[in-house]
Symmetry: C2
Subunit: 217 residues, 2 copies
DNA sequence: TAGATTGTTAATCGATTAACAATC
DNA sequence: TAGATTGTTAATCGATTAACAATC
């Protein structure tokens, strides 16, 4: 593969690529042709030198004196991330959170297609969220395997999290997004990403208590 | 303040504290009295030396040969983060995502009380989510100021994000959780945290494409 | 050419971790 | 006491950034 890295790529680089991509797509939509690392730095709050360095891990995509061609850079970054083709998603949990995720347009724009939704509540089974009919969770293993789905999203109640995760993995899922507060155990072959609003709030909260006195109730 | 740090605390330390806290609360619930950094390391996937180092930024809370007293460590970490008292939250957007957040129990358990919900859709105004009656977004400024709310959550459509953010900040919000894919601009006095499932997926996706061949459609 | 901006080096900065003396 | 585990130092590791030669 042309984009295959020669050295180990720092985690931080991979975290920033989606950020660059988002801004680049925006610029492309605005009809811009090229962009400098300086401008990209303003738009993303990242040091321009860092942007240039991040990109050179994968090749040299810019033109000295000019900048980066936006259309081709979008293309390169998408290829690096593996976002240049469609990925099917299995969503487990058809509650408010599940519905929000299934209806979120941004996913489809980036090639993420939710093609299966599961719930344990039989009253929800058979209802539709967008184009997809909710299936019973007992059909998870078969459907995920049949559709060859590699990405799973956990939007279930906490006590179901680990069991559902195990089932998804057994059915072939390799990437999991966990929207549950539970610490889910996965084998090292699976990439797990946790999103808990509590963690995020607690984290930002620290800075609040330092900045101003805070009203202690 | 007893917990006031003497040196600059690395960002990573603050990010890990909520993780430790979650596990510690779990252990407390299980009736454990003490925990070693080794055990905490297993449960959080963090190097034990790092846990010890992280904690010593704020004092020495452990006992050599014994470990850490769980009850008092929970207390200390909560105080460090500012999670030892109640924080009111303003939630903007009463759609699926907003409902999911408002109904999420974990928030309340950590002292985060959603006390105001706003929406621009007049059909939603007056309806109830949990205990809270949805207000029209035009009441945002007054309510947020009156209730002295410092934390805002953006769960609105993308094109409304920046404007709502501006209103929240003008009304006194200092911490913002952005569940919108938009890059929101905030003054340096405001702490912003972005959560976009697309970014998270793109990020994990990179590792998938390296691990196995991936089925290119 | 003159001006702009990349790609890359080298210096700096900061974070992680191994190791161990202190001590419960 | 002997064993366990902290707190802390020092070494390692890795990431960020300033600076500038290359070059469009």
């Amino acid at each position: 593969m042309a984009d295959e890295p020669s050295k180990r790529i720092p985690e931080g680089v991979i975290e920033r690529l989606p950020l660059y991509l988002g801004v680049l797509i925006q610029l492309r939509q605005d009809g811009q042709a090229t962009v400098s690392s300086a401008r990209l730095g303003e738009l993303t709050d990242v040091n321009p030198a860092q942007i240039r360095r991040d990109l050179t891990y994968f090749g040299s995509f810019g033109k000295r004196g000019v900048g980066y061609d936006i259309v081709s850079l979008v293309d390169r970054v998408q290829r690096i991330l593996g976002a240049d083709h469609v990925h099917r998603l299995a969503l487990v949990g058809a509650g408010h959170l599940g519905s929000a995720i299934a209806n979120y347009n941004g996913l489809r724009q980036h090639g993420f297609h939710v093609t299966a939704i599961f719930d344990a509540d039989s009253r929800k089974v058979g209802t539709r969220i967008g184009d997809i009919i909710v299936q019973h969770i007992d059909d998870l293993t078969r459907t995920v395997a049949d559709q060859n789905i590699r990405i799973g999203v956990l939007a279930v109640p906490p006590d179901a999290a680990q069991e559902v995760a195990d089932r998804l993995i057994a059915a072939g899922v390799r990437i999991m997004l966990n929207y549950t507060p539970v610490i889910v155990r996965v084998p090292s072959t699976v990439t797990l990403h946790n999103t808990d609003p509590v963690h995020e709030l607690l984290h930002t909260l620290y800075y609040l208590s330092r900045i101003d006195g805070v009203d202690r109730v």
